[in-house]
């Protein structure tokens, strides 16, 4: 939905939602025919994701969940600039944690503004929000949630984020306080995925209460994405988490989400 530097209005967001992808697989049709409640998911991608892959992810989520799915496209500018931007999105929260100064050069990721506008519109209309994010999309999402929370706090709506459900997958959302209290969270972390290990919630359950958002469910798992089911107990941790091998949204995280909740496809 967004290119870097583009602004997206509420009308465009509403239009995107109307055009959301809905799976027409036999499995999903059957579920809908049998009374599956309507569900709409908004998805924010991570770095190095071209638009084609973004759309493929939306379809995969839709096929798995049978929900209507649309996306906030966090556009890629190539690995180097994406990485720099991830650093900048993260820097705001890192700075708060460390007392360091954020190295902002070109401001916030426009996807943050787009998502913030979307979330605020939904919350103020009393609509539930089902937000999914992968990798850098987690950093985008956490900042957007802070923006919305602050806006709602301004008008005294302290419980405004209660209707938001967040599913983060290998998220790069930064150091404490990573996710604002309010939404219901489900965080998926492959314990040998370097991104959430280094940049995200990390591998220490003892710190989840501070980092993951109040009442969050953090699902740590291990195993070969190409192998059988992932393990959620007796986790096998490698000495050094892999930079990319366990980070894929399809092979690792959607697979694990399906293992937890079931689904079609």
């Amino acid at each position: 939905m967004t290119g870097k530097g583009d602004q997206v209005g509420v009308e465009a967001i509403a239009h995107a939602e109307q055009d959301a992808y809905q799976s027409e697989t036999a499995c999903c049709k059957s579920k809908r025919d049998n009374g599956m409640p309507p569900r709409t998911i908004v998805y924010v991608n991570g770095i190095k994701t071209d638009q084609k892959t973004h759309c493929e992810t939306l379809r995969a989520i839709a096929d798995q969940t049978c929900a209507k799915v649309y996306g906030v496209y966090n556009a890629t500018e190539g690995p180097y600039r994406d990485s720099v931007q991830t650093g900048q999105d993260r820097s705001a929260i890192d700075a708060a944690n460390e007392g360091r100064m954020p190295g902002t050069g070109d401001g916030r990721n426009p996807a943050v503004d787009t998502l913030s506008r979307l979330l605020k519109s939904k919350v103020l209309n009393g609509e539930p929000v089902d937000l999914w994010a992968h990798s850098q999309g987690g950093a985008v999402s956490s900042l957007a949630l802070y923006d919305v929370k602050n806006s709602l706090d301004t008008i005294g709506m302290t419980d405004g984020l209660k209707g938001v459900h967040v599913t983060s997958m290998g998220s790069a959302a930064p150091m404490w306080p990573m996710w604002p209290d309010g939404p219901a969270y489900e965080h998926y972390i492959h314990v040998n995925d370097a991104t959430p290990f280094v940049y995200g919630i990390g591998d220490d359950p003892a710190t989840d209460g501070d980092k993951a958002g109040e009442g969050a469910s953090v699902i740590r798992f291990s195993g070969d994405p190409a192998g059988g089911p992932f393990a959620t107990e007796n986790l096998q941790r490698s000495a050094i988490p892999a930079p990319t091998a366990n980070h894929d949204v399809f092979a690792t995280y959607l697979k694990m989400q399906k293992q937890q909740h079931g689904g079609c496809n």
Partner: protein
């Protein structure tokens, strides 16, 4: 008739000159004193821009330069360079004046700045004025860094708390909050 036209032309000419001078302060001595302000402001903006690695570091025609989450504005009338740090977008002027009031100000660090809603941009900023007569490049850089760091604290930790204090739904912190990692425990105090 010709003399009348000539007198009229002279009068208009004088008026134009006066207006021109007025536009620059209409005070010869003052104009000379302040004539270097914009150049100094521009130099300060360039220095800060380089410091944060910005691609565009020149004051624009509106005497402004945005760097994304921070920005600088040269106010010729007040002879200040005003730094700003992004807090959040607001749909309209919903800013609570209490943010700059006696209950909140002593409790939460503002880097000696003040909150101001920019109606043209629909953005709430934390701002700070730097007098051009005295500010140095080093001071500007350090104080903008501080303003930026404090603004992040507000975005992520203090704003919601301050609002809840304003609305009477949360207790204020036991002691004023400095900008340091030690705030973590105090934030936890709020959550509990």
């Amino acid at each position: 008739m010709a003399a009348a036209i000539k007198r009229r032309r002279i009068a208009v000419g004088c008026l134009a000159i006066c207006l021109e001078i007025s536009g620059n302060g209409c005070n010869g001595v003052q104009m000379n004193e302040h004539s270097g302000d914009r150049e100094k402001a521009a130099a300060l903006v360039r220095t800060y821009g380089r410091h944060i690695g910005a691609a565009v570091i020149e004051l624009d025609a509106e005497n402004d330069r945005s760097f994304g989450e921070t920005g600088l504005h040269y106010d010729a009338a007040r002879r200040v360079l005003t730094g700003r740090a992004f807090i959040m977008k607001l749909d309209s002027d919903l800013m609570k004046p209490e943010l700059n009031g006696p209950v909140i100000v002593p409790l939460f660090e503002r880097a000696a700045g003040y909150f101001e809603f920019d109606a043209a941009k629909d953005i709430l900023f934390l701002k700070k004025d730097f007098p051009l007569a005295t500010i140095t490049e080093r001071q500007l850089r350090d104080q903008m860094d501080e303003l930026s760091a404090v603004s992040v604290k507000w975005v992520l930790r203090w704003y919601g708390w301050a609002m809840q204090i304003v609305y009477g739904t949360a207790r204020p912190p036991g002691a004023p909050l400095p900008v340091s990692r030690a705030n973590d425990a105090q934030h936890t105090e709020f959550r509990r």
